[in-house]
Symmetry: C2
Subunit: 134 residues, 2 copies
DNA sequence: TTCTATGCAAAGACTTTGCATGCTG
DNA sequence: CAGCATGCAAAGTCTTTGCATAGAA
């Protein structure tokens, strides 16, 4: 995705495309992936960026709110940000901490249950925890 | 569950039944529920217990490891401990932070996907995020 | 006695916030 | 110019750790 495509995408989502936000978006949206704030910061630093930690965190929160990325909660010690925003599910390798997508057509949920009264569904997530075969 | 039943249960799981562990277990296993470490500590304090924060955290980790309770990761800011250990799924109310069980027979997963090579499945969790209907 | 648990406070990881500066429209 | 974004460091949460004391087998 080119720099200007990224800028356009930010604008579509109502986000002011500043230099730092463009950098963050370019790295994260480059391909389907799952990164924590710290991993992302590392990647940015590795390619010479000088964004601050606070800006990365703030930017990711902003992106999450406006639907540009999806927040994932699988590891109690950190959040992951998923560049794939449409509904899909995950494997989580409990030993390595690695997340991977479950191919869309390989899992289906049967008979969504009755929600508690007065509530509506926001999302459905299936998480399969895996580990190395011994 | 009586105090001595709790003690027996701890022993079954290879856990030395000390006074503090009995208190923690008695509160958490009293009924099906989902509590964070802090909520549990509050409950204990409310009923006059003087366990320390560190002991509650350590005890919950211990209980999790030996299968006495199930750790839940739904809120990035804290862990929840579930007194129901057999496989089941959850609703998570994103506004109130409340967790509730999904009745076992109301959800079924169809066609478990192929796992990444060399790995085995540890668990499958379905989490349905809900919020109040507007 | 020997090993393990407990309590307290301190350390630690991750994330957010406050505030002054600098950029955007 | 008015308003928002940025960077830095400080503050905040939740959780773990270190160490001395106390308790269990």
């Amino acid at each position: 995705m080119s720099r200007s495509d990224v800028a356009a995408k930010l604008k579509e989502h109502g986000v002011l495309p500043t230099p730092q936000r463009l950098e963050v978006a370019a790295v994260l949206l480059e391909r389907p992936q799952h990164l924590s704030a710290d991993q992302l910061l590392e990647k940015l630093r590795a390619q010479g960026s000088r964004v601050s930690k606070a800006t990365v965190y703030n930017t990711l929160n902003l992106f999450g709110e406006c639907g540009l990325v999806k927040e994932l909660t699988v590891d109690p010690s950190r959040k992951y940000y998923d560049s794939t925003t449409h509904a899909h599910h995950h494997f989580f390798h409990v030993e390595t901490g690695k997340l991977s997508d479950i191919p869309a057509n390989q899992v289906e949920i049967l008979g969504l249950p009755q929600l508690p009264p007065g509530t509506e569904q926001e999302s459905v997530e299936v998480l399969i925890r895996i580990r190395d075969k011994k």
